[in-house]
């Protein structure tokens, strides 16, 4: 560390933060803090000194400019700096008097800031290919495409089996499947579709029955909720994990959501681990 913290409170919190195992877990976040500390050009200060660096003052001027579309005048700059000094003094005195203790709003904001720290780091992480590939492999159930089949179907009329055999033979001889069969509103030709969607259209169990049929020829009959069908499987896809480059945005979004959740949890665990937690007995509280 090249710079001493401004106040004893800050010294404590920063040291604690930098030596915390949490920082090692949040490798990138920790790195940001370390770099920030290395780049800190603030002069040594005493607890009773209020010092504004030229860099911070320039930032105030820029902030002013972004609101007013012009730089502050010399008078305005002086007022800005004076206001900052007063605020800094008031805050230090308030902290010294313990006024930050027991204030619900301050507690809330600190709480949020710490949680936000975890989540914002997740948002800033840029995963490499290997990380995403590993995540994809480890969460295959989340991304796997179920097995799918594409097929054509002809809805059969109420017809003795001999009639069905004849229809099947004619279809396999090349007759137009859209010119035969009974009236219905079911699709004639389904692209690659998963079992859940197929069952939604034809009724439960249909997909499994179709899957058992041979490829490339009219086969069946197969029973649906509506009646009997002849089917011809035109394509099968085993499903499984699509390659990363096809679903990269989704994988990255899910990975980041998982990181944020893990970091939130880890933060909670890590922090609690540093305290001895003493809670009254639940039943005792409730019995009063």
């Amino acid at each position: 560390m090249t710079a001493d913290p401004k106040t004893p409170q800050q010294r404590m919190s920063r040291q604690r933060f930098l030596t915390s195992p949490l920082v090692h877990f949040f490798a990138i976040g920790g790195l940001i803090f370390a770099v920030y500390a290395l780049m800190d050009d603030r002069p040594d200060i005493r607890a009773d000194a209020i010092t504004l660096t030229a860099g911070d003052a320039r930032q105030m001027a820029e902030q002013f400019e972004s609101g007013w579309n012009r730089p502050p005048t010399a008078d305005e700059m002086t007022q800005l700096m004076q206001a900052w000094v007063e605020e800094e003094a008031l805050v230090r005195e308030a902290v010294a008097l313990g006024m930050d203790q027991g204030d619900a709003v301050i507690r809330q904001r600190l709480n949020i800031k710490m949680r936000f720290l975890a989540e914002s780091q997740a948002g800033a992480l840029i995963p490499d290919e290997e990380t995403l590939q590993t995540y994809l492999d480890q969460n295959s159930d989340k991304f796997a495409i179920p097995p799918r089949i594409a097929f054509r179907q002809v809805f059969l009329p109420d017809e003795p089996d001999t009639g069905i055999v004849a229809i099947k033979a004619s279809l396999n001889a090349g007759d137009d499947p859209m010119a035969v069969g009974a009236a219905s509103l079911l699709p004639h030709d389904l692209p690659l579709t998963g079992a859940l969607n197929i069952d939604g259209m034809f009724g439960s169990g249909f997909a499994q029955a179709v899957q058992a049929m041979p490829d490339g020829q009219w086969a069946g009959p197969v029973d649906s909720s509506y009646g009997r069908h002849l089917v011809m499987i035109t394509q099968r896809s085993d499903g499984g994990l699509p390659p990363l480059d096809q679903i990269r945005p989704r994988v990255e979004a899910e990975w980041r959501a998982t990181q944020a959740a893990q970091m939130r949890e880890a933060l909670g665990r890590e922090l609690l681990g540093r305290y001895q937690v003493d809670l009254p007995d639940v039943n005792e509280v409730l019995s009063e």
Binding site: V154, E159, M178, L185, P187, M201, A253
Partner: protein
């Protein structure tokens, strides 16, 4: 070809009207093919995809502040068929997944309950936000209700403006929602669409619209949703939608709902700013909101017994006692509230203005505020989380509307009046955002009260009765006519238009009772007219002296409860041509398909919880589907 015939399911094709007889085992001429493979030209919509365009989660202030804990993530997982825990702690799972879902949380302080639950620093950005955070802080039930009331006050303050404006909360929450839609969108198996609800309700009268994106997160994140804080006026919404399209190159459409709770404002004869409707208004309205949600939990909006006195099925889950405001309902408001009368009045406007302001197609949806899209009678999770399945009679007695009218007891609509409805169905080629949105845009949609029956209609000038049996029904229908939502092409022959009609029951549901054709038209002196024709029905019933097909009776056993498909038909089809056609009259035609009677959600509740259902609430009902109309305009296509 010799042995291949088209086979009738003649046994199911019972009943005819309009002078059409059914073909008996007609040989179907196959048109000459230009390609060897018949599938080369197979590019028309052939899948009925079932979804919900209207669902709220805890991101909606009026859900998350009063009991809902479900996120859009839960909503999408549930719609996909996964088990989720409901907000009231009841395990919930859909019997069958949906094909697609739009989560449409209220734009007014989108995500406020989430921000409160997270103690978000964004709340500290405005005085109102700080007040809300403080009110909410104890996190007790009372604190939540207090917070809800404060929000309700803000959202109902005329010209009050967004009390969180400039805080960044809308942006933050919107982007979380679009992110979740993106994560759940799986083209070809489940489509997660982006949307929101613009909740305009001047004086508590319902002018709400759901706005549906064709686009993904990348474009949707370039805006934050317009809210009723910005404007109550639908014309401002349309301008905002136009601006979005200009800015991003994306595409939007809006779906209005609950005209039955608008006290005559939804299909009014004047604009919200009091101007008479003109051609420009009519064109803009249909440009931006091609669809109307005709059925949902808060009642059915097809028609009303006072509007359709000759329609014995008009009295279906009527919610006709006022709105969310203080003004009671009066009968003169009804024609400006219901879909059928609006469609009829639209024809009169079309004649007068040269454009029809009410030329909409229809869908059904739930409008559930539970994050759970349940339109099935046997697992209805209700309108709001506090009224999820429970043996507590509050599930039937809690007032949903009419709270603020002067006479508080008699004009309330209570949760026991709720309809476990509905579904939005699109005819599409594939299950993707683009294909579903495009179907909505061209109005090739229908709405059901929860049943997954399939319904198709094609209208044209040269259909013949034998065409109804064609195995290539859809291909032929598109080649020679227009589907639901379309306009009949120009015709100069003076002959009546003809229609090919099919309906197939829910594969896991009840048989069909009948298909009806609802026709609306205008007389030369501009009087809108309507008539309901029984087109085809089950069980060989004879038309009665009153010209109507008699009721089917029912097979419901309320003790279980259950029903049997021993009555009704799994499939009904008909060729129909208009027996009363006048080529000089504007007209529309849509289908209403009725299932056989089945137990209502109240009957399932009674059997499961042993609760007593309040007097007068239906235990048996007939689920139904309504299609988008096909329009006829003299001299035009």
């Amino acid at each position: 070809m010799a042995i291949i015939k088209t086979f009738n399911r003649a046994v199911l094709l019972i009943g005819a009207s309009g002078g059409a007889a059914f073909a008996q085992s007609a040989e179907t001429p196959t048109p000459p093919r230009s390609e060897y493979s018949p599938y080369v030209e197979y590019d028309y919509p052939d899948q009925a995809l079932f979804g919900d365009t209207h669902l709220h989660t805890a991101y909606s202030a009026d859900a998350g502040l009063v009991g809902a804990t479900t996120s859009p993530d839960d909503a999408f997982r549930f719609a996909k068929g996964e088990e989720v825990m409901s907000s009231s702690g009841v395990r919930a799972r859909l019997g069958r997944p949906l094909d697609w879902l739009v989560v449409t949380d209220h734009a007014e302080n989108l995500g406020l309950p989430i921000a409160l639950a997270e103690d978000s620093p964004l709340l500290q950005e405005t005085e109102w936000g700080r007040d809300m955070a403080q009110t909410f802080a104890p996190k007790t039930f009372d604190a939540r209700v207090q917070t809800y009331m404060s929000w309700f006050g803000a959202v109902n303050t005329p010209d009050g403006g967004d009390p969180m404006a400039g805080s960044g909360m809308n942006e933050t929450m919107w982007q979380r929602i679009t992110e979740l839609a993106e994560r759940h969108n799986q083209p070809d198996s489940f489509t997660a669409m982006i949307g929101f609800e613009w909740t305009s309700g001047p004086d508590g009268n319902n002018l709400h619209r759901n706005v549906i994106f064709r686009d993904g997160k990348e474009l949707a994140d370039q805006i934050v949703p317009i809210s009723a804080y910005d404007s109550d006026d639908p014309e401002k919404l349309w301008q905002w939608m136009a601006d979005y399209e200009d800015r991003t190159g994306g595409q939007l459409l809006a779906i209005s709902h609950n005209g039955n709770l608008s006290n005559g404002l939804m299909f009014d004869d004047v604009t919200l700013s009091g101007q008479p409707l003109d051609r420009d208004y009519a064109q803009r309205r249909m440009r931006w909101e091609p669809l109307y949600e005709i059925t949902q939990i808060k009642g059915d909006s097809e028609t009303h017994p006072l509007l359709s006195p000759d329609d014995e099925f008009a009295n279906y889950y009527r919610w006709d006692k006022g709105s969310f405001g203080v003004e009671p309902k009066t009968p003169d408001m009804l024609p400006r509230e219901y879909a059928r009368s609006a469609l009829k009045r639209g024809l009169v406007y079309d004649e007068k203005l040269g454009a029809n302001p009410f030329k909409f197609g229809v869908v059904g949806s739930t409008d559930a505020h539970t994050g759970l899209s349940t339109a099935d009678e046997d697992s209805f999770f209700g309108k709001v989380s506090l009224l999820e399945p429970t043996g507590n009679p509050v599930r039937y007695t809690e007032a949903i509307t009419g709270r603020f009218t002067p006479d508080n007891s008699t004009d309330d609509m209570v949760h026991g009046d709720a309809l476990a409805s509905g579904l939005a169905v699109v005819w599409a080629r594939e299950n993707t955002r683009e294909a579903i949105w495009d179907a909505m845009k061209r109005k090739e949609t229908y709405g059901t009260t929860g049943t997954r029956m399939r319904v198709r209609i094609f209208g044209g000038w040269d259909f013949a009765s034998k065409d109804i049996d064609r195995a290539d029904f859809a291909r032929y229908g598109y080649q020679h006519g227009v589907p639901m939502g379309g306009d009949l092409p120009a015709d100069t022959s003076g002959a009546a238009p003809s229609f090919l009609i099919r309906a197939e029951r829910d594969p896991d549901g009840a048989n069909l009772d009948r298909i009806q054709m609802v026709k609306g038209w205008t007389t030369p002196d501009g009087e809108p007219q309507e008539r309901v024709y029984d087109v085809v029905w089950s069980d060989d019933r004879q038309v009665g002296a009153d010209g109507k097909v008699p009721p089917l009776g029912d097979t419901v056993d309320l003790a279980v409860p259950t029903y049997s498909n021993s009555i009704g038909a799994p499939y009904l089809a008909s060729y129909w041509h208009d027996p009363d056609f006048d080529p000089a009259q504007r007209a529309f035609y849509y289908l209403r398909v009725l299932e056989i009677p089945t137990p209502s959600w109240l009957a399932y509740d009674r059997a499961f919880f042993g609760t007593e259902i309040p007097e007068g609430k239906p235990l048996i009902q007939q689920e139904r589907a309504y299609t988008s109309p096909i329009w006829y305009t003299p001299g035009q296509g």
